[in-house]
Amino acid sequence: MKNGFFSLAGLRRLRVMTWKELLQLFRDTALMVFFLYSFTGDIYIAASGVSMQLKNAAIATLDGDRSDASRELLSRFQPPYFRPIGELAAARDSITLLDDAGAMAVLDIPPRFQERLQRGEQVSVQLQVDTTNSVLGFLASSYGAQIVGKYGLEAAARREGLGGMAGPVLQADTRIWYNPNQNDAWFMGISELLTVVTLFAILLPAAAMVREKERGTIEQLMVTPLSAFQILFPKVIAMTLVILGGSAIALFGILGPVFHVPMRGSLLTFFLITALYVFTTAGLGLLAATVARNLAQVGMLTVVILMPMLLLSGAWTPPEAMPDWMRILAYISPLHYFLDAAYGILLKGAGMDLLWDSVLAMATLGVCVFALGMGRFGRQFG
């Protein structure tokens, strides 16, 4: 093992090669500027202002009754969920308004609403909802149903003399854990950080490798005493270091001070897991690099790898809602485990006692992918 990996010479080579990769990276000014932007400005934009919740949905009303009862019901559609935008003159206006996306919903109260209510009949009111966005459509109708249901129950209690709400009803005390104020910035910010980490972890090593191939400098490396591993591994170390630096900037520069994302778990664990994740994902990038001949191909291959990973891992869409065959695919995506671990550490305060299975799965994937990439590389240039 004179020139082996763990010998003194091996370690020195590793250091020198890693330094070479870092220098090469830092000298691409446009790339570095954008790297910094991705870990700061981009995460800021994603986390600020964007909300997946129904807020201030414009609601127009058609009041066919104009009584105290109808006005009371209408007055209950208020912010934060709804924003009343006034009354419509005729029923056909409602369709025009919804067509132009001027309103999200129209509440239609029939004539003789109060009269029939007092007489003890059951009255229907209609809510027309724009469900072009199905999630919002569902939320709007669900809040509408809550408001009308509560109003109805109170009206019934008054009429039947049940004395307020004291009946055999359920009193649910709902607690939302980990993010009690439903602050979207926490979710969006962390999700964007993970996306950016993934993008760079695939693209940087793949591009660094193919660039050497495209320019022919790989031949120079091949005639040196370096082994295939000693050529590939420093690239991964350099990229991992840079990406960890970027994550630290994002965490301590943006997510912490600006959005007050709680960091409940151990940050050391977070960075160790991030390093493991970058290593695993870099393996995917290197695998792509052994397939591609030029950088343009690497770019397209990156999209092919990145997009399904982002989608399947549950960053945007809940894994529970996917078809079964897709959920199986999620298990071979390292991002799936990284998401669990990152949200677990930052928001839930989970430690290794809960996360060990994710870490183990990620490490196994990493070793497999890396071995595959090394094997292909060795055959191409060995």
Partner: protein, 384 residues
Amino acid sequence: MNGKRIVALAWKEWREIVRDRLFFALAFIVPTMLMLLFGFGLSLDVEHLPFAVVDYDRSAASRDYTYRFISSRYFDFKGYAGDARALDSLLADNRIRMALVIPPRFDEHLARGEPAPVQVLIDGTFPMRAQTTQGYVVAINSAVSLDNMARALSAGRGIPLDEARRRVQPVKLEVRYLYNQSVKSIWSLAPKLIMLIMMLSPPFLTALGVVREKESGSIFNIYSSTVSPGEFLLGKLAPYVFISIANAMVLWALAVWLYDAPFKGDPFFFAFATLLYVICTTGIGLVISMLVQTQVAAMIVASIVSIIPAVLYSGMLLPLTSLSPGASAIAHSLPTMYYTNIVVGSFLKGVSWSALWPDVLVLAAYAGSLFGLGYLLFSKRPKS
């Protein structure tokens, strides 16, 4: 402008793309693959939410109540937990997203006609899902409450259950879902995917295509030739616009035939607007390629610049109405929002020129200014 030179350049570029087999194949495969993946996988329907129950009461009433959740298609019962402390690690480990805690004397409270407290714990990591989950829980709880009230009233007054049910629910809400009657998320999603994918792929292709010449140095042939900057840009970009148009047609066909999304609008109007949009996104790639020197940088810039606006600021996943003023300003300054209006209008609402001409106008202005910017940035006498 010399038409012959433009055609020659476009032909040269086309040959180059076609000869790089993998690149050519991926240029067509990537959009279709993304459409299939997103279409089947990007479901925003919150269903099969795993949940657990801690039942301290163990009575018929509490089992009845639990059964309401078990039989709902929105929830997926994972079993009873021993006590409330066990829920901590289940929630932290993503094993469950929601938990019900039924305190002792649940049955007793209800039998006496008193309100019975229950506790609902929801994992708030994903705010949108938490909100939807809460919506489901409230709906089930109020249905149970109404049933209980009706039963109590019917027993107390000796009236039939149906009559009692009508009395406790004097106002009924009828919801009419417009444009997407069954609230299927794929219907509203598939058209918007055209917007998303046409935002991702053209800038990528274009930026790579132009920067490739810069990095390999073959652009010096152009610099030293008689080709004018305008001719170079038109000839160079024509094949990419062509590829993207072909892709847009494939995506349209997939949306209509595979996902059965209704197309109610005017096809000519839609085709015209799509052409403008593709020119816009190609223009984004052009501007990027003028600003960077290496293909790696081009890829990174193209993906960061296009993914975020397309996913977050286009109204695809997130409602534009719930954006903060700052975010709303960002959304209005990007082309994706306008094309989303056009896609949604053409597919789901069946409106065309009369309602959407301002959006088309904005897209045209975008396409014009992006190409203008690219033209200004392109110089045959580079500084370095």
